[in-house]
Symmetry: C2
Subunit: 143 residues, 2 copies
DNA sequence: CCATGATGTAATATCAATTTTTACAACCAG
DNA sequence: CTGGTTGTAAAAATTGATATTACATCATGG
């Protein structure tokens, strides 16, 4: 199962605010047009990013801005903000292994550390990429 | 969004075959009892593992066995066998970013290599864990 | 050779999460 | 106070996972 598109949408949103924020007001309708998703989806993601302290959104007059320097916002910050999985676990464990079975009784003890090991590797990589990297990469394409 | 429980189920299945396969026939009903999921789910996963060359399942008389030495089956082999995502991509990209928008037009070029970078880190970690590790860990609990 | 107990698979139902869409109250600025 | 915007709720549509029923197919022991 794939990680939801809210993650790539959020990065797209940041790229738009960074690119267009100086010259115009970046509203949810503007972002909806650029991403081709419904404005309500944009507003919900902006809400998650706002509660995580990554963007500021002004009610009434409208428009969003980025709350921190780009090199201080990592992919992991964004991932954690928009990908709200229970307990923050990447892997879904089958719920009720049999306690009558020696394997079923111990599979969690055995597997949990290994699953964390994998998830940690992914999070480490997510933490190593910042929005400043994206700005740099994008700048090369925009010229 | 989480990775489906088919992955942890598959590992549970391997652990059962390895633990009980010598002393008894390991059927889909047996595995369904140990994992507490429906036997058809087990049979479907066994089918995916069989097509990936990781297990052998005998029709008619019944029972499953492991097709390779445990240290030659990695978590990545299992993950790829049971987690059938289109294109094998971990991240779901929003489908139709606007080609009218400079950001929308380039977001894929910018983001795709970064997403692969993250996915590769995860796959590298999955590749580093084998079923032999799980047998070792489980043995400590079974004694 | 057939009765039994398995597997393989299709079909359907249920459930959960995502995504879309409509609607509207709250809000701010000119 | 009017126009454009955000925040949010609610409902529908969509998708994928999981459960369940059903049955054809298969191997084997009696």
């Amino acid at each position: 199962m794939q990680i939801s598109s809210r993650f790539t949408l959020a990065i797209h949103i940041f790229a738009c605010i960074d690119t267009f924020g100086d010259s115009q007001k970046v509203t949810s309708d503007f972002l909806a047009a650029s991403t081709n998703v419904n404005p309500v989806i944009i507003r919900n993601i902006l809400g998650q990013l706002r509660r995580a302290g990554l963007v500021e959104v002004t009610r009434g007059s409208g428009g969003a801005s980025i709350a921190k320097p780009l090199d201080q916002i990592t992919f992991l910050d964004i991932y954690n903000a928009v990908e709200s999985v229970e307990d923050g676990r990447l892997f879904h464990f089958h719920e009720n292994p049999s306690l009558q079975c020696p394997v079923g009784r111990n599979i969690h003890h055995v597997l949990d550390p290994r699953l964390w090991q994998v998830q940690s590797a992914m999070e480490r990589e997510l933490r190593s990429i910042t929005l400043a990297d994206i700005r740099n990469d994008l700048k090369a394409y925009l010229e």
